[in-house]
Subunit: 339 residues, 2 copies
């Protein structure tokens, strides 16, 4: 973090992670500073949770009382549809409205996302020095539990730090997009004209997770056809038709020049209102928390399985079994209790 | 078990397992009767451990003080080399010496082994009414943890029931043979003349686990060649050469007419003596107990993972996380504690 207060933070631009994590950590102080909007403290907290540092649990406990406010908006779609550009345009729009914004750019395929993303991020430096914007690139490979682990934790940090809106943008394709969608209150599925994109999206199952469909680059040839394709896909029915509840609207944007962005923000707000009035918002958040708890519990159990395999206590218990002093079941209980 | 006291017991010849397991069980009484040599009680105990019945732990605890005496001899080798015939011949030899014998015939490929094995077993009815012999066919498919789970438990039953020797014979091929070998104090690898059997055995890695090499059907053409092949393989060195300890001897048998069987029993006794004097016997038993404890501990953890996935408590904890009353890590702890 430079003295100019540039809020752009990528793993590549920070000190080596291992070294950072091993430094002593004053968690209450960090959380207090993050809540005051200090970007450096936010960055440090995200690194701590992302690296599953020893302070992870203390951080999570300190954040908990301050979470639950942020509106999480996911952006997903094939490469080239303009997710980064749209994210940037949304950040501008939310900042005009005086809202504090966090951005998590998630690249599930990269061990560090500093490289490929940095070009896009440079544009975000419009917001350099703006304490109302926090931008973080996250990579998943090599981290404990991958995206499913790190992203919700980073969301909690941004939420506790007072972000009104957190935009979660995936760089990758496939399953990870659906994962990200499952983290969001509102999921925007982006498409661009041409290439039978609507049909591909339907095949990939990403229309299923869309709360709002965004046809970006709508000034290009074929935009009308893409909208018609999407309408047709939606008319084939799905959960929206069946529940009769929220029917995903289709919005056209040209994110590069902000065209349609204010209308898109308005649509997101409408969806937010529906989430609240219908109870679906609470249901989604509870489901998200349940998956998060489950992932942590499973990770803990997996760790214990590794401990069982490599346990030193096992030898002593085996001797007791050989001597007939205990049986293998009681020994297994004792082993698990010791770990 | 008929009133004639036929000790041959296969799953196929017993009442349906599920029903047997759900009957109320008087474990101390069963163990006492099994120790008195009552075949019916031994059969019931093996069914209880094999089916992972609710009484499994009680059975294991009741058996523990009475275990550790039996000598476990594994027989392995390709189909057709004469494992069943050799087992039968060994049973006769041990009975002539007044020793109590258990036989576990393990078929890892069959859901129940009553069928294919029964033909061989009929010959074993030489021993019908002989309370000094207990024979059990075991299948593994569909059972919790398969062979790795059930076989050591069945061994414990036969051990506690006072068998001096337990012969464990595999019907299958491949990896399971190595597993069985790992359960035995002394592993006999059987071969027959012809078919480059020695080379195949070397390729499959089963020479590595041999404590004694048995060339059965030694009256056939090619027996000398097979012995020469084996000598050559052994001369290529392996763990035996390196440790300079026990060098697996090669024995010739014609099990069908008991030729060479007494010499084979003598060799097994020599190996037993070496196991005791070298400490290797204790080391093997401790290693076996360790693997058994590990398998049980891992099975317990896997069960808890399933419980996490399907937990009803998860919903309530998720609500607490959404409300900021706790964090996902403490919630995961609470979830695991509740299971």
């Amino acid at each position: 973090m430079s003295s100019e207060g540039i809020a752009v933070q990528t793993p590549g631009s920070a000190a080596p992670r291992g070294r950072r994590s091993r430094r002593a950590v004053d968690v209450p102080d960090l959380v207090a500073r993050a809540r005051d909007g200090e970007a450096r403290a936010v960055a440090r907290l995200i690194s701590l949770v992302e690296d599953a540092s020893p302070a992870l649990r203390e951080v999570a406990a300190a954040l908990a009382p301050h979470t639950g406010r942020a509106q999480v908006v996911g952006l997903t779609g094939s490469p080239g549809v303009g997710k980064s550009t749209t994210t940037t345009a949304l950040v501008r729009a939310y900042r005009r409205a005086g809202r504090r914004v966090g951005v998590l750019a998630v690249d599930p395929s990269s061990p560090f996302s500093g490289g490929a993303l940095l070009g896009d991020r440079v544009r975000m430096q419009d917001h350099a020095g703006d304490a109302g914007v926090y931008i973080r690139s996250m990579a998943s490979r090599g981290h404990l539990g991958g995206l499913a682990w790190a992203t919700p934790q980073a969301l909690r940090v941004l939420d506790a730090a007072g972000c009104d809106v957190v935009l979660v943008e995936t760089v990758g394709v496939g399953q990870s997009e659906l994962e990200i969608a499952s983290l969001a209150d509102t999921t925007l599925v982006l498409l661009a004209p041409g290439m039978g994109d609507g049909i591909q999206a339907a095949k990939a199952g990403i229309l299923e997770v869309a709360d709002v469909l965004v046809v970006n680059k709508a000034d290009r040839d074929g935009a009308d056809q893409t909208v018609r394709d999407l309408r047709y896909m939606l008319s084939l029915g799905g959960r929206h038709e069946l529940t009769g509840a929220w029917r995903p609207p289709i919005r056209r944007t040209v994110a590069a020049d902000d065209t349609g962005i204010d209308a898109l923000v308005e649509t997101v707000e409408e969806h937010r209102g529906w989430l609240e009035s219908s109870g679906e918002g609470h249901r989604r958040r509870a489901g998200r928390a349940a998956r998060e708890i489950e992932a942590i519990a499973l990770a803990g159990l997996r760790e214990r399985m590794g401990d069982v395999r490599g346990s030193a206590a096992l030898g002593a218990l085996a001797e007791q079994v050989v001597a007939g002093q205990t049986d293998p079941f009681r020994a297994a209980d004792a082993l698990l209790a010791q770990l």
